[in-house]
Symmetry: C2
Subunit: 272 residues, 2 copies
């Protein structure tokens, strides 16, 4: 019997001794110099990143937009296959921010979970419950619901006061109380807003958070951990994309070192 999602998440963190999630965001304008003329540059770059970080990363998060823009779905499939080969206990999170209803949401779930074989997919809650539940129907797969994101525009709607609580708190409450029967739901909570993260942790001690915004977006790692770790000093996946994969121009040595350094920083603060 396959592990349920919560067990998969725990196992991935155990196997790597890490809370690090490595984002696979192959921006064509930033590819490592030696891969620019490669016939399958994204797949080659994914292999390099995974080979250099296997055993260090608890999870990998491919950003599907970069593949979709160029019709490079096969390279995404190849990258994920390589993760399964080299880091079989790591989670694969498809960062797709899907959000639609009924049979359309079910088609998106099949895209993430069957076509790409992802363990989890990021989901946008704006359309409400019937846009989220189809992604939570499989006990061994997870949905990671956008809650308080790390970008500047996040404040436009997520912070609006909605009956005494900001909208992102309403999203978290609904998610925690009504959508998480199978314990396969996580929230996206950006590293750039430690106060908001601390509030969310206080209100939802049991929910794991996926945390973007460390590194290129400027989130503070110490403050993030202080605010977001749960009672077991876990409950977080700390994502870094650009600051790891483009370190030193994207050489294997440099990006492996960047991932090890992030892991070590986190572990020191986590147990130090």
């Amino acid at each position: 019997m396959p592990l349920c999602f919560a067990e998969r998440l725990h196992d991935a963190q155990l196997a790597s001794g890490s809370l690090v999630c490595v984002g696979l965001d192959p921006d064509p304008g930033k590819m490592p110099r030696d891969l620019r003329d490669h016939p399958q540059p994204f797949a080659a770059f994914a292999r390099r990143i995974v080979a250099a970080t296997a055993g260090i990363a608890a999870a990998y998060k491919p950003q599907i937009a970069f593949y979709s823009a160029l019709g490079a779905e096969r390279q995404l499939e190849a990258g994920i296959a390589y993760i399964r080969e080299r880091a079989p206990r790591a989670l694969v999170i498809l960062d797709a921010k899907r959000g639609d209803i009924g049979n359309t949401a079910e088609a998106y779930a099949r895209e993430a979970f069957d076509r790409y074989g992802a363990d989890a997919v990021t989901v946008n809650p704006y359309m409400g419950e019937d846009s989220v539940l189809p992604f939570l129907a499989r006990p061994d797969r997870g949905a990671i619901v956008l809650c308080r994101t790390s970008n500047r525009g996040a404040a436009d709607f997520q912070d609006l006061d909605a009956g005494g609580l900001p909208l992102y708190r309403r999203v978290a409450l609904r998610a925690a109380s009504q959508w998480n029967e199978r314990r396969n739901l996580m929230l996206v909570v950006g590293a750039t807003f430690a106060r908001e993260m601390a509030e969310l942790r206080g209100a939802h001690p049991e929910l794991p958070f996926l945390v973007p915004g460390i590194g290129a977006q400027g989130g503070d790692l110490a403050a993030t951990l202080e605010a977001g770790l749960d009672g077991k000093r876990a409950g977080l996946l700390i994502n870094s994309s650009r600051a790891i994969i483009y370190a030193g121009g994207g050489t294997a040595a440099a990006l492996g070192a960047a991932a090890r350094e992030l892991k070590a920083c986190i572990e020191r603060k986590r147990f130090g």
Copy 2:
């Protein structure tokens, strides 16, 4: 010089004499019997739909999830190419409900506008301004922002009171006042909530709405037009997907008749 988006929309309605948008939602479980063993069933179905409705539809709205679930991107490209051939003045709206930021949003815009050559793409506003503006950067292409959707769960967050106005009104206000410099923004406003549509039309007489929820979802056409038409008896694209394309089991004759009937119903109420 290419027409700007607002001119394209007007021209598409003029060429077809219609406000009808035909949704291309090729659900594998509902395909017409005679296409089930076709090697490219989605492309063949799209050709049938477009051939039977060219000149009747102002726009076509392919739902990308059905293609992505099965790795059928080439069939989506083929369907769009056929629209351009048979109905060159119709708009192509990629229903993708994308929402992400920065270079990721730009990659999604390239997916919709360059890879698929769509005229417009549906966009989810939850992440705020920097997740929407990249889709509005091209004057000849549009972004159609989710505002008040037609599904049951829409009430979960969109209707929450956010400082005296429901969230969906906040989204519309922000969109109209700050994002629409190029007049290439539309709102998604579901047909299932005529009161909400009337409020939105009152507040935003100049914004065109894309209206899902007629037909299979049960929205009332007369009430929708009453509530949503603008001062020129236009300003709407009325989408119907399942009720047209699966009419009579999806034969060309039946689906063509269903599209003509919807067009005629709308025109009677629009100018009757």
